[in-house]
C-alpha cells in the first residue's frame, strides 16, 4: 500500500505563496482559512539578516494524534496514509486542533464567503463542507485519486515541492528522504509526519 508524502526544498522556496492560493482555488476554502500557508521568520541581525520561508500544510502523520483524539471518527486515515475529515461527521469540538502541534487545521465557524451577500456560483459549486466543522489540507485527495499531483505541487513556481509514495523506494520523495537527510517538522513530537523538508 502506498503512503503518500511530500518533500519541500526550503533552499528553493521563494515565499511566493502560489501554493497558498492554488490550495484555496482548488478547495474554495472559506475566508480567513488557508490549508496551505507559507510561514516566515527573520534570522540574524542587520545586515546579516535573512528571511526564512516555511511552506506548511497538514503532515498526514503516520501517527495522527488528530485522529486519536477525535471523538467522532470524523478524522480518519486512509490506507494510503492520507488523513481526512468527514465533514458530515465532524461536530466541531476542535480537540483535533488542540492536539496537533502543526496548526494545519481550521475551524470554519461561519461567514466564509469572500464577497458580502450570497456565496458566489463558484463557492456554491465547489464547497463540500458546511459551517461548524474543522477542516484542513486533504493532500488533494480528489486529484491524487485521479493520479494527479496536489494543486500546490503543480503550481509551485520553483518546483520545490515533490509529492509521491514514501513506501516506493523508487519514488522521488523516497529518494529525497533517503539521500538528502530530509527531516520533518518537530520530529520529537513523535507523530511521524509524511511531509519532509530539505535545505534551510
Amino acid at each position: 500500500m502506498a503512503r503518500y508524502g511530500m518533500v519541500i526544498d526550503l533552499n528553493t522556496c521563494i515565499g511566493c505563496n502560489a501554493c497558498t492560493m492554488a490550495c484555496k482555488a482548488e478547495h474554495a476554502t472559506p475566508k480567513g482559512i488557508f490549508w496551505a500557508k507559507v510561514l516566515e521568520k527573520e534570522v540574524g541581525k542587520f545586515p546579516a539578516a535573512r528571511r526564512i520561508f516555511l511552506p506548511v500544510l497538514c503532515n498526514h502523520c503516520k501517527n495522527p494524534i488528530c485522529q486519536e483524539v477525535c471523538p467522532t471518527g470524523a478524522t480518519y486515515k486512509r490506507q494510503d496514509g492520507i488523513v481526512l475529515i468527514d465533514y458530515d461527521m465532524c461536530i466541531g469540538c476542535r480537540s483535533c486542533m488542540e492536539a496537533c502541534p502543526y496548526g494545519p487545521r481550521a475551524f470554519y465557524e461561519s461567514d466564509g464567503a469572500y464577497y458580502p451577500g450570497e456565496r458566489t456560483a463558484y463557492e456554491k459549486s465547489q464547497q463540500d463542507f458546511s459551517e461548524g466543522v474543522v477542516m484542513k489540507c486533504n493532500f488533494c485527495v480528489e486529484r491524487v485519486d485521479q493520479g494527479l499531483d496536489p494543486a500546490c505541487v503543480v503550481t509551485c513556481v520553483t518546483e520545490c515541492r515533490v509529492f509521491g509514495d514514501l513506501e516506493d523506494p523508487q519514488s522521488e520523495v523516497s529518494r529525497l528522504v533517503a539521500d538528502k537527510k530530509a527531516r520533518p517538522l518537530l520530529p520529537e513530537k513523535g507523530l511521524e509526519p509524511s511531509v519532509f523538508y530539505v535545505g534551510s
Partner: protein, 291 residues
C-alpha cells in the same frame, strides 16, 4: 471584522480554539463531580443532586461550544482512542448512576442498602472520579501544547475539582434541604486540599520550567508576563494562600464554631482562584515553534 489575524509567522503560537465555554465546563464539570463525590462521603442526597446539576450545566456549555451541537451524539463513537469520547461516557454514567444513587435519599424509587445499591454506588463514584480527572487526560497526552503535556494534570484537576465542589457546597449550604452540613469539617478538608493544590501547581511549574520553548513561555506569561498578576495574585495568593492562612489561623487552633460568613468568603476566594486557574491554564496553552 476585528477578529485577531494570525500572522503567517514561525514562532510560539497561542491556542485560540478553547475559550470561556470550555473553560467554564472544565470548572463546572469538575466541581460538579467533586461535589457529588463529597455528597456521598457526607451522605447527603441533596448535595449529590446539586453536584449532578452543576455537571449538567457545565456539559450544556460544552455542548454549546460545539460547531455542530445537533450532532453531539457522534462524540460517543471513539471511546477506545479519544478521551473526549470517554468523557462523554463518564458524564453520562455519572449523571445516570448518580441519579440512581441519590434517588432513595430524595425519597424515590428504591431502598438503599441492596447489592444493586453497592454496584450503583461504586459505578457512580468511579464515574465521578473519572469526570474529575479525564479533562486532565484530554490536555495532557497531547504533545502539541507542552505546558499541558504533563501527567500531573489529572491529579491537579482531581484535587481542584474536590476543592471547588466543597466550596460550592459551602455556598449552597443555607439553601440545601436535608440535614445541615458540618461546615467546620468541610473547611478543614479544604485546608488539605488547598495545600495539595498549591504543591501540585508549583511542582507543575517547576517541571515545566525545564521543558520545551512553548512551556517556558507559558510559565513566563504566568509569572512575569501578561497574566502574572492574575496568576500569582489571583490563583496563588487570593485563591490558595490567603484562604489557607486564614483557615489555618482560625479553624485549626481554635475549635471555635465557624461563622458562616467566614467560610463563605474563603469559599468565594477559592472558587475565584479555581476558575482563574482553569482559565489561565487554557489561555497560556502555547504551541512550540515549527522551526
Amino acid at each position: 471584522m476585528a477578529a485577531r489575524i494570525d500572522e503567517f509567522l514561525i514562532g510560539v503560537k497561542p491556542q485560540r480554539e478553547w475559550g470561556w465555554l470550555v473553560i467554564s465546563y472544565l470548572f463546572l464539570g469538575g466541581a460538579g463531580a467533586g461535589l457529588f463525590l463529597i455528597s456521598l462521603y457526607i451522605d447527603h442526597a441533596w448535595a449529590g443532586l446539586l453536584g449532578i446539576s452543576v455537571l449538567v450545566l457545565g456539559t450544556l456549555l460544552l455542548f454549546l461550544d460545539l460547531g455542530r451541537p445537533e450532532r453531539f451524539w457522534r462524540a460517543f463513537f471513539r471511546p477506545w482512542s479519544s478521551w473526549i469520547s470517554r468523557g462523554c461516557f463518564f458524564i453520562t454514567l455519572m449523571v445516570l448512576f448518580g441519579a440512581l444513587q441519590i434517588a432513595p435519599g430524595l425519597g424515590f424509587l428504591w431502598e438503599n442498602g441492596s447489592a444493586l445499591g453497592s454496584v450503583i454506588k461504586a459505578v457512580s463514584v468511579a464515574a465521578a472520579v473519572l469526570v474529575m480527572i479525564y479533562t486532565g487526560f484530554v490536555l495532557s497526552p497531547s504533545p502539541a501544547i507542552p505546558f499541558w503535556n504533563s501527567a500531573l494534570f489529572p491529579v491537579i484537576f482531581f484535587v481542584y475539582s474536590l476543592l471547588a465542589g466543597i466550596d460550592i457546597l459551602i455556598l449552597a449550604s443555607p439553601f440545601l434541604p436535608g440535614a445541615p452540613l458540618d461546615l467546620v469539617s468541610l473547611e478543614r478538608l479544604q485546608i488539605y486540599l488547598a495545600l495539595a493544590c498549591l504543591l501540585l501547581v508549583l511542582s507543575h511549574l517547576s517541571v515545566m520550567s525545564s521543558s520545551a520553548v512553548a512551556a517556558r513561555e507559558s510559565i513566563r506569561l504566568l509569572t512575569r508576563g501578561r497574566w502574572g498578576l492574575l496568576f500569582l495574585g489571583g490563583v496563588i495568593v487570593a485563591g490558595l494562600v490567603v484562604p489557607l492562612a486564614l483557615s489555618w489561623a482560625v479553624l485549626w487552633k481554635s475549635q471555635a464554631q465557624a461563622v458562616f460568613a467566614f467560610t463563605v468568603i474563603l469559599a468565594l476566594l477559592r472558587l475565584f482562584g479555581d476558575y482563574l486557574f482553569r482559565f489561565l491554564v487554557i489561555r497560556v496553552g502555547l504551541y512550540d515553534p515549527l522551526l
